[in-house]
Amino acid sequence: MALTGLDIYKLLPKTNCKECGFPTCLAFALKLAAKGAELSACPHVSEEAKAALESASAPPIRLVTLGAGDHKLEVGNEVVLFRHEKTFYHQPGLAFRVKDTQPAQELAAAVAEAAGYFVERVGMCLALDAIAVENASGEPATFAECVKTVKAKANQPLILMSRNPASIEAALSAGAGDRPLIYAADGENWEAMAALAKKYDCPLAVRAKGDLEELATLADQVVKAGVADLVLDPGSRDLAGTLAHATQIRRLAIKKNFRPLGFPVITFPGEGAESIEQEAIAASQHIAKYVGIVVLDHFNPCMVYPLLTLRQNIYTDPQKPIQVAPGIYKFNEPGPNSPLLVTTNFSLTYFSVAGEIETSNVPTWLVIADAEGLSVLTAWAAGKFSAESIAKFIKSCGITDQVERKVLTLPGLVATLSGELEEELPGWKIAVGPREAVDLQGFLKGIRG
């Protein structure tokens, strides 16, 4: 929780020397609490006060970074329990796991496919964020060799999975790319693993055997050993258990500012899953409920694409709807006499309508008017999709030079606009289309006769 002005005041010298530009320390403290000033403005604040202020204002869940540059993965630093309270900020990283016991040929191909996969949805490029390499052989040399093969096929950061510090060191010294995640420190090997994390400046996963007190104690030891970037694995693998732990860890951080567990969580939905459907169901739960890194054991587009879509949905900022660019969209090579439809630039609206036009195979013009990314009825209710705004856009967007058939079809839900629109668009006839995009195919085929 953020400190109050009074809490901060207690930590200041209270000499009212005004060097910070404020008449009194109290005034400075209040401004600092309201994030209107920087602590550095006061040259006399003590080291302990500075440390206390910094830790109190640190986010309840640390932001942990894997990799660097374009392929950086940032997880953690969430501030709410429910997206509707504000928004979720850092979508969970989706990773794919391979093992150093797989034949090099097969491994390279699997990594290339998973790492190279991307799909475009609602104008955004969705892809996997990390590749996990497991030291199934237990051998440092085999592991280092495998990491090299994987690195050659993937730009994403790696997750180095071994309980053997020697294997982790072998991989790190042979070169495991920018800022890999080391998985994992446990009750036995945490000192050696913490030393490696510090030496190579890598985030370190801490793994318990299903008990949060064991996890918190271990995490606390590792932090005290000087490692700041942690990822937590409570050790549960069942659906109910991972849900309970992820929820408890998130609540402790957000509601109690409980530092020892103030880190992102990592899960392995494939472990114990009887089918890829069960793995996908577990992964969907982790995406929705509080996990920072989700490591998949199977790479299959029929599962990865919907999981990436789900992540996009849950992590969309409820206050900022996703929009498409206003303008003229052509389907199935429309001509001067093809039907002309208009709707709003809310992505969901656009994709609902675009999908139906495409499937109808009828050459069609679709004009997308700027309605601040709101759906048809929402925009109409908010006055952002009116006869006036539609007419203005029809005249300015250039469609009038491309069509001879001056008939504009409105969404059925705003049929009431047609009269007013006919006045605003002299020379045009205003038609009313179906209320639901699903019925557009029939409607368009009807026009084509």
Binding site: F82, D220, A240, Q248, E277, N300, L310, L348, G355
Partner: protein, 322 residues
């Protein structure tokens, strides 16, 4: 030294009501099994906070005619049974349906326009064919819904079926029909907390006992508004725990209808290759829409594909283990 962890437990001021679908012989019906949902006093499956009284139920959606607009790869999962609602209902139960959801789309005035009486006949036949509880929807057009559901309510008197749906602008006839024959009502609202409460008030003000109302917050499929449904469900469930009586109803999600309507589930040609195999992906689309809404508080999930029923039920088994 060991760090102690004090798990924050939230105490709800109120809980979701329990609603039982179906009436056995002793209760004046002919069901061989009933389904009770709701009763929660903590968020989904948080056993550490309070016991989870009832497992969410999975219904299978069937129609009173063979819907041609369903994708072939969905139809082939059922085959010829789709031509006879009684056979389809039996197959649904065999596939694991806890209850059957019968949509009388054959009575749609823009379609086959069958009569309300024919709809009621179909309901009686399905009630004879299977022993699980039944949910019945009209064709989805207000005026015909009223006519059809009035006849259906009478035909199924005493069976404690659920009638779907009422909305703020169309509820009187259906609520009256439910009151007269001991049925349950499904109140639908367009992903909007206030409109959901308004509809529930209208129904309960007519004397409908609160333990005979289910809430349908309107399902947005994965990639097509799911996040709006997800958040409105969380908000409704949280307000139920703050003891707002007009949100303390179990929630039903029409997952199959919404998910199989989308391009990712039905379109064969002209889709990106990176979408993966259509058969597996379309089932995954329904499964993940269902699994996400389970986390937001869904008490009844209505599905279309038997594989989805199998996989979602398996995940519910796991989630119900404390």
């Amino acid at each position: 030294m060991a760090v102690t962890v004090q798990i924050p437990i939230e105490k709800a001021a109120g809980n979701v009501r329990e609603v039982t679908l179906g009436a056995t012989a002793t209760e004046g019906g002919t069901r061989t099994s009933t389904v009770t949902v709701g009763g929660e006093s903590s968020l989904p499956f948080l056993h550490f906070e309070s016991p989870v009284p009832h497992r969410p139920a999975v219904g299978v959606e069937i129609h009173d005619w063979n819907p041609e607009d369903w994708p072939a790869h969905l139809r082939e999962a059922w085959g010829d049974v789709m031509n006879d609602p009684t056979e389809w209902a039996k197959a649904a139960v065999k596939a694991g349906a806890d209850l059957v959801v019968l949509r009388l789309t054959g009575t749609n005035p823009d379609g086959l326009n069958r009569s309300a009486e024919q709809g009621a006949e179909t309901v009686k036949a399905v009630l004879k064919a299977v022993g699980v509880p039944l949910i019945v929807y009209g064709p989805g057009q207000a005026q015909k819904d009223n006519e059809v559901l009035l006849k259906v309510a009478e035909a199924a008197a005493g069976e404690r079926i659920a009638l779907g749906d009422i909305e703020n602008t169309n509820y009187r006839t259906i609520v009256a029909a439910a009151l007269g024959s001991g049925h349950i009502v499904i109140s639908q609202s367009p992903i909007d907390v206030n409109m959901a409460k308004q509809c529930n008030i209208l129904a309960t003000d007519m004397g409908l006992p609160p333990d005979r109302l289910l809430m349908d917050p309107t399902t947005g499929a994965l990639g097509y508004g799911l996040e709006y449904t997800y958040s409105v469900m969380e908000r409704l469930r949280l307000s139920a725990f703050q003891n707002d009586p007009m949100t303390q109803f179990p929630m039903i999600c029409t997952v199959g209808e919404e998910s199989w309507r989308q391009k990712e589930s039905k379109t064969l040609e002209g889709v990106p290759e990176v979408w993966g195999d259509i058969k597996e992906r379309s089932i995954m689309w329904e499964i993940l829409t269902a699994s996400s809404l389970l986390q937001a508080g869904a008490d009844i999930l209505v599905l279309r594909h038997p594989k989805s029923v199998e996989q979602v039920k398996l995940s519910i088994d796991k989630l119900m283990k404390a």
